[in-house]
């Protein structure tokens, strides 16, 4: 009796949705929900090659390790740059969180999300990753499609919707209608690029070198795109470039704006470029429904106002900007990305 239950259990298929983002890795498992939501960072022991930490624990190590640990971000600008690390990260997460071993992978259906404008090779790398983990049944979907579904937009209607996903490595802009993408564009400028720009600015204007974590913290604490934002000054520490010793420096909201405005202007340009190419019928829909913003950077204060004022289309941030892509995989597993089948009604 017991064994038959086990057998039945074994037969049960596992559905996995993976949002392998540059900044965060989210794993959705059918019937369980999101089982993992942490930074896509992994730390190895250099000597033994063993995984020391992954996710939040590894993220905390960035820029702080000694020579025995290698901390790796397996993704760069939205695509896999270190295959071995990406595989270890996923295997580690799956086995840690849900005791899913390689044996279980045989009966897994997996959807992996990727940015919309990636090359064929970069896409194949994602499939390769799944195959390496012995998942046979795998398909790749665009992040914006999944994000739109996860945000609760019914893309299967004959109504056009526009989604802007500003993530860690890439910014995706897409127009969706009838269950698939009509038009989409990607730039590789997003959260991480902003962090780099902040670090560059500090280096140039304060002659202080700062690490990734500090730049990221400054961004989340100070970024405010409102026209008349409340001016705040925050104090951060880094290494003085001239003397080499640790040093405090102050950063204000105004300075942060001067760093971020050019980047957001470029994103605005991308949105207008997509809007320009949009079929007029869909443009009308978008003008009525507005643009939906998702991704980590849509949490920056005043972003709706900033983009809205420049494009003259209402802008809304979705209710779950960080998890919508992973939540959208829920539906994509059901219809396997087939635009004819509306998973919302399944």
């Amino acid at each position: 009796m017991n064994s038959s239950v086990n057998k039945e259990k074994e037969k049960e298929r596992i559905g996995l949705g993976i949002d392998l983002g540059t900044a965060n890795l989210l794993v959705y498992q059918e019937k369980k929900g999101i089982i993992f939501n942490e930074p896509s960072v992994i730390a190895f022991d250099r000597e033994s090659g063993k995984v020391v930490a992954a996710g939040n624990d590894a993220h905390r190590m960035l820029g702080k390790v000694h020579s025995k640990i290698a901390v790796i971000k397996p993704l760069r600008s939205g695509v896999i740059s270190d295959m071995r690390a990406a595989k270890s990260l996923l295997s580690y997460v799956l086995s840690k969180i849900d005791n899913l071993t390689e044996k279980d992978m045989g009966r897994t259906t997996c959807v992996i999300c990727c940015p919309s404008e990636v090359t064929k090779i970069e896409r194949d790398v994602m499939i390769d990753l799944a195959t390496k983990m012995s998942i046979q049944d795998v398909f790749i979907e665009e992040e914006i499609k999944s994000g739109a579904l996860g945000a609760g937009i019914d893309i299967f209607k004959s109504k056009g919707a526009m989604v802007v996903d500003i993530g860690g490595g890439t910014t995706d802009v897409g127009i969706l209608s009838f269950g698939d993408i009509v038009l989409s564009r990607t730039v590789r400028k997003a959260g991480n690029f902003m962090d780099d720009e902040i670090a560059k600015f500090v280096k140039k204007n304060r002659s202080v070198e700062i690490g990734e974590l500090t730049a990221e913290r400054a961004k989340t604490e100070l970024a405010d795109l409102h026209q008349n934002a409340k001016i705040m000054t925050m104090r951060y520490a880094g290494r003085d470039m001239v003397k080499g010793i640790p040093k405090w420096f102050d950063l204000t909201t105004t300075e942060m704006q001067s760093i971020l405005f050019p980047i957001f202007d470029e994103i605005v340009k991308l949105i207008s470029a997509v809007l320009k190419d949009t079929p007029p019928e869909l443009s009308a829909d978008i003008f009525r429904n507005g643009i939906m913003l998702s991704g980590g950077c849509s949490l920056i204060k005043g972003i709706e106002e900033y983009i809205g004022n420049r494009i003259m289309v209402p802008v809304h941030v979705v209710s779950n900007p960080l998890t919508c892509v992973a939540e959208g995989t829920k539906y994509l597993i059901k219809n396997r990305g087939d635009y004819l089948v509306n998973p919302l009604q399944m």
Partner: protein
Amino acid sequence: MAMLKSKQDKKVEKGKESADVSNVVKSPMGKSIGIDLGTANLLVYVEGEGVVINEPSVIAFDYETNEVIAVGQLAADMVGKGHQGIRIVSPLNQGVISDMEATKKLIEISLRKAENLNLDISQSTLLLCCPSEVTQLERESFTSLGDRLGVKDIFIEQEVKAGAIGSGLDIFSSNGSMIIDIGGGSTDIGVLSLGDIVVSESNRIAGNYLDNEIINYLQYHHGLLIGKRTAERIKMEIGSLKEDLPNPRTTYASGRDVVTGLPKKITISEDEIRDVLTIPFESIGNLVLKVLQKTPAELSADIIVNGIIISGGGALVDGADEFFHKRIGMDFSVSKRPLTAVVEGTKLLLKNRGSYFVKPTD
């Protein structure tokens, strides 16, 4: 001598108690032993017993028979006072072993002095601490010391790592910390994070060097030749880096007049010694800067928040923290137990065998 005896007596009592309680400890057993083999002092930690030895690393031999006459404090008292029949050896020089045979004897005899520990050293796990910037050869000499002692299970760890743990820093977190260990033979500076050393530097400007500087100063400015022990005493009594002292402390220095060759006694004051000590401490300060320059930016940010700990005998020089603060500008603080930090740290390192990702718990 008397002190030594009473110490030993205490240990005997301790041993008896434990024997009464457990009623089994008969045959010697292997334990975890942590040794801070410093140029100035030898400290030994034994699992379950605490720090059992804390004495100068000096050993005295009979010149002809080569028999050991004294070790530890007794031998240290002889320094500069021995006659032809006695050979007094400091088996470590500038942080590393210079006389293997003497080092071996020193450890063996020190441990035997505490023999009621019921310890079988060949069955024990031994942790030896060494300065951070030693060559491979110098490091190997520590391992071969273990072989000579008959210990099979031996591992070497850096002093800064043990010192940081012993000073109460949590080096296993991702929060970076920095420690300056000014010992007898070497000064070690390390930045630690995630259970290991990220950046470290070491030079040989430390306690003994300071003593020599004091000897040189008195010779050239007062025409007085003094011994190492006197120099050390002066350093301990009035060694200071404080500027603008309202009423500087004074002490006497006695030795031999360079010119007349007659015994002579003079009085020296704190500010004189301060001027002598300033230059070596400045080069330690430069070494601190060198380490800070090599530190990753993210850890720099942690260090400016957490401050820098000074440990080792050199930390006891008055105003050392202020001195560094004035020159480098960060918060410096002296470790709570500057002299025993390293050996206390071995306690934890013995538990995880120096593995950086296992955080040992008490």
